[in-house]
């Protein structure tokens, strides 16, 4: 599976290669990431490392294993090694702010990939418009759920909330409520904390469903939780395909291969898509441009507008979603 992913990513990398600005000489880039626990991070990691290597740059990889202090030390070690630039996937927004400031104080340009610092004013920050993407996905399932329900029925909605120390999680929660609040009188909302941890999400979702077994709509702040959700809903007879009695309208966010498969299978109805390849390309391009221009403290927010893939538009747009591309390459085989 990983070989296929590598092949696919290499193809993607070659496709990206021509578009990215090149410094006068090959650069040494420190790629510091917090871990690779989801499909999104795995695919992002491969896209970045493969593309940079294909272009002749040296990549020093640093995996902090979800430890913010370790990441801080690893980035400092990279700076001591004389890297030209840093691409960072931080543990959280707060540690990102400290690390970005520290790198800039040492005259090293830094780009933050996908998980933004709590202070957006420093560094190159490539981030999805989480609130808008989430709102689009939730709008879709809200409309579907209301259409399928009686006119005066009040529906129960669940949101699986991420780690609210991560601005991505905050944005997704905001997007969810923006959509729900358009019909505030029609929904009771239960928030289930996950802290971006499948085991925590499982325990809290089980508790929420034990307290209130009736669920009409569920939004997960990340697609990586769908297997967890399935393991809770299936034994309760709530993992039901679209068009059948008891179907829970479901949406997620990320756009991974599992979500793509579940939309095709009819269990999930929509997912907000972050354009992983755009984000990877934007981060690499910006950091290489900063090196070329001699800019040690580039400050720029690059927004990925994203979109919502739904069962209605999947025929036209599925190949715009990175997870569906991976799926087509046999990622889940």
């Amino acid at each position: 599976m990983m070989n296929r992913l590598r092949t696919m990513t290499a193809i993607g990398a070659l496709a990206l290669g021509g578009a990215i600005a090149q410094p006068a000489q090959s650069a040494t880039i420190c790629f510091a990431f917090q871990d690779l626990e989801t499909e999104f991070w795995v695919a992002g990691h491969l896209a970045i490392t493969t593309t940079l290597a294909e272009q002749g740059h040296t990549v020093l990889e640093r995996n902090a294993n979800e430890d913010a202090n370790r990441q801080f030390e690893q980035v400092n070690d990279c700076i001591a090694q004389g890297v030209d630039g840093i691409i960072l996937i931080p543990q959280d927004g707060e540690s990102a702010t400290t690390i970005v400031a520290n790198a800039q104080e040492n005259d090293v340009p830094v780009a933050v990939f996908n998980r933004p610092p709590s202070d957006l004013s420093r560094g190159i920050v490539v981030v999805a418009d989480n609130a808008t993407i989430a709102e689009q996905a939730v709008d879709f399932i809200v409309d579907q759920a209301l259409e399928a329900a009686d006119d005066d029925a009040t529906l129960n909605a669940i949101i699986m909330v991420g780690d609210l120390g991560d601005p991505n999680a905050v944005g997704r929660r905001t997007g969810f409520f923006n959509a729900i609040n358009k019909h505030a009188d029609r929904f009771n909302v239960t928030e289930v904390a996950t802290n971006w941890d499948a085991a925590t999400g499982l325990a809290n979702l089980e508790a929420a469903l034990t307290a209130n077994p009736q669920v009409d709509l569920l939004f997960t702040s990340s697609d990586f939780l769908f297997p967890t959700i399935r393991s809770v809903l299936e034994p309760r007879g709530m993992w039901v395909q679209r068009g059948e009695d008891g179907h829970v309208w479901m949406a997620g966010l990320d756009g991974d291969a599992t979500a793509c498969q579940l939309i095709k299978d009819g269990y999930v109805d929509a997912t907000g898509v972050q354009d992983l390849f755009f984000e990877a390309e934007a981060a690499m391009e910006a950091i290489l441009r900063a090196i070329t221009e001699g800019n040690t403290d580039p400050n720029e927010v690059i927004e990925d507008p994203g979109f919502a893939l739904t069962f209605e538009n999947k025929e036209e747009r599925e190949m715009d979603m990175w997870g569906c591309v991976l799926l087509a390459e046999g990622f889940l085989d």
């Binding site: 410094p23 006068a24 000489q25 650069a27 040494t28 020093l60 990889e61 640093r62 995996n63 902090a64 294993n65 979800e66 430890d67 913010a68 202090n69 370790r70 801080f72 030390e73 690893q74 400092n76 070690d77 700076i79 001591a80 090694q81 004389g82 890297v83 030209d84 959280d92 927004g93 707060e94 540690s95 702010t97 400290t98 040492n106 005259d107 090293v108 340009p109 709590s118 780690d163 609210l164 120390g165 905050v170 904390a193 802290n195 090196i291 001699g294 040690t296």
Partner: protein, 402 residues
């Protein structure tokens, strides 16, 4: 009681047992045997020396520098020192507990709890959107920050409060071990789980920034930086200014000196060793065992708290998850590598200093070798195992020489 005195420091007779042999062959072989014995004695002396791990660290650096020239650069040495200080403070606390043949697994969670409590008390601002649903919102923390924000000496009152909190945790641990005679492993394991969950509950796993600058200085404040000119290794010109004398350094060295005096030059220290060697014998000898054990756990918790404060200042963020992951591996590993015995009764603060230096150096060099986090942890685990084996060998050697 001076059982922790390394045998390597004692005068030795260099007389061979074969010295009186009348055999011509033996006589001919005598100088070689003497030379071999002298080399072995010297090797044993080095192995038992207080400075063994320092020698090991220097040898390790000397071997690697030709392959990793960056290892000896001012930037990297500054990093190594900066990584060392907070870990040293926590490891000093663990040294006391290991000396009484105990273990303190709760140090990481004490550091995490300390980190988030101090942030809640002294932060100068807090986002309601993120923290509005937490149990501390509205009475300890508001949009204007913690209850001590903006108050004269508020930061230092906060620091004092969290140190008292840590001391109380240590007191509880110590009482459970000393009075209730519960195993230290179990008591502190419960502390590890319970305190960590409590810390996470306080802010619902959220981190807290906006800490006052005087507090941040505890973790990364610089007193003396050295300018080494422009660096041309990278494509972009870079100022080579590196911190060498920092507040964390001052704090850690002060604590190390105080701990050294306490452990090696006071009645209290001798009693700590006595308990570690044989608790029953210490009781019979009139050592106030319970009081000493409780005090040792208080010291350990307070050291963990100070280390937690230093890490918090360094990251400029209160984090309830601080001290999780492999933190305990680092603390216990560094202490054991230094030479402190897992079986109790054998420790020196100086050993812990060298152990932390070696451990930090190891992590640093593995990073510079571009190994992944998983490989780094595997190597660290192997080094800790080697250190434990070395500990056993040193004990055996010491027994043989005494």
């Amino acid at each position: 009681m001076n059982t922790h005195e390394p045998a390597g420091d004692r005068p030795r007779l260099a007389v061979s047992p074969d010295a009186g042999s009348a055999s011509g062959t033996a006589a001919a072989g005598h100088p070689q045997r003497c030379a071999a014995r002298t080399v072995r004695d010297r090797a044993e002396a080095v192995l038992l020396s207080d400075y063994f791990v320092l020698y090991l660290s220097l040898a390790y650096m000397a071997i690697l520098i030709p392959f990793l020239p960056v290892l000896g650069t001012p930037a990297n040495l500054s990093n190594v020192l900066s990584n060392m200080w907070p870990l040293l403070v926590v490891a000093i606390g663990q040294t006391f507990v290991l000396t009484i043949a105990g273990i303190d697994l709760s140090q990481g969670s004490v550091a995490g709890l300390t980190s988030i409590v101090i942030a809640v008390l002294i932060a100068t601002a807090a986002p309601e959107q993120v923290l509005g649903q937490t149990p501390v919102w509205g009475w300890l923390l508001t949009e204007n920050g913690g209850v001590l924000a903006g108050i004269s000496f508020g930061t230092w009152i906060g620091v004092l409060l969290v140190l008292v909190l840590a001391a109380l945790i240590g007191l509880a641990n110590g009482l459970a071990v000393a009075v209730l005679r519960m195993p230290a492993f179990m008591v502190t394991l419960v502390g590890l789980i319970g305190l960590s969950a409590f810390a996470i509950w306080l802010t619902q796993s959220n981190n807290l920034r906006n800490l006052p600058p005087e507090f941040v200085a505890m973790g990364r404040g610089t007193l003396v930086s050295l300018f080494f000119g422009e660096q041309y290794q990278a494509q972009l010109p870079r100022r080579e200014v590196h911190a060498f004398v920092t507040w964390p350094m001052i704090i850690a060295i002060s604590i190390a000196l105080a701990a050294h005096l306490l452990l090696s030059h006071t009645v209290f220290g001798r009693r700590v060793f006595a308990i570690g060697l044989n608790r029953k014998a210490a009781e019979i000898s009139g050592v106030p065992v319970r009081r000493i054990i409780v005090t040792v756990f208080v010291i350990s918790a307070v050291c963990a708290a100070i280390g937690g404060l230093m890490y918090t200042g360094r990251l400029e963020t209160g984090r309830p998850t601080l001290g999780g992951g492999n933190f305990l591996l680092d603390v216990i590993g560094a202490t054991i590598i230094g030479g402190t015995s897992l079986f109790g009764g054998k420790a020196k603060i100086l050993w812990t200093v060298w152990g932390v230096l070696f451990f930090v150096l190891l992590g640093n060099t593995l990073n510079l070798m571009n190994l992944s986090a998983f490989h780094v942890d595997m190597v660290k685990g192997g080094v800790i195992l080697a250190a434990a084996f070395l500990d056993v060998s040193r004990q055996r050697l010491q027994r043989r020489r005494t």
